[in-house]
Subunit: 117 residues, 2 copies
Amino acid sequence: MQRNLVVKQLLNGKNKHFTAEDLYDEMKFKKKNISLATIYNTLHSFVEKKILKLVSVKEGKAIFCTNMNNHYHFFNRKTGKLIDIPYEKIKIKNLPKPPKGTKIDNIEITINLNTKN
Amino acid sequence: MQRNLVVKQLLNGKNKHFTAEDLYDEMKFKKKNISLATIYNTLHSFVEKKILKLVSVKEGKAIFCTNMNNHYHFFNRKTGKLIDIPYEKIKIKNLPKPPKGTKIDNIEITINLNTKN
DNA sequence: ATTTGTGCAAATACTTTGCATTTTT
DNA sequence: AAAAATGCAAAGTATTTGCACAAAT
């Protein structure tokens, strides 16, 4: 059953952050038979079940994340990789009030990095 | 000349945030002849020239922005709309140090909103 | 036997590329 | 007449849909 292959790969993996295609390539490497469509569908069902987070979209690709704790990210444009920043590491003062009829769901912070000189 | 049509639409517009397709639809409505490819190419050339910002990607679509000041955003998932938050409105304490060999380019903050039941 | 879940080919959505044509120098 | 800019059809990616089949109730 293909859905279990995905679970297995996620559990064993150091894959904190990955795209659907990352997973697809790992599967191919391991000679497991699964289509990209199934990987997408599986990942999205996991997001609904709150097993995974869809953290953000960089360079046109959705990035999924196994760290379910509230946290922020560094993003290295050069390598295309995200690095977690624990929630406590960034403190925010003066949050603006949300517009009428809405409430804050969550706060995303991404610190974009460049290579030093 | 199609590139000027884009400029005109941007200037007259209350379009603080828009996708390439938003612009395409406005053009069609005004019976202006321009292809989506040209709109994409024009917008990206404006980003290079620092006339526009490519602010983020929501729901798989690139969102462009005419506000060139440093600022943050509310994002209303329900409506798909971004609302600017001026830079001074959010103060951050304790920024973590960037990883070795990198420096901070910029900080993106998105406050995701839900409808208040 | 009806409902729910699974897997993926095909369809769609978003964006970029390559190149013919026009404009500028 | 060479170089730069323009416009877009066609190509290229990323993702979702629709449906045949399987498993569970």
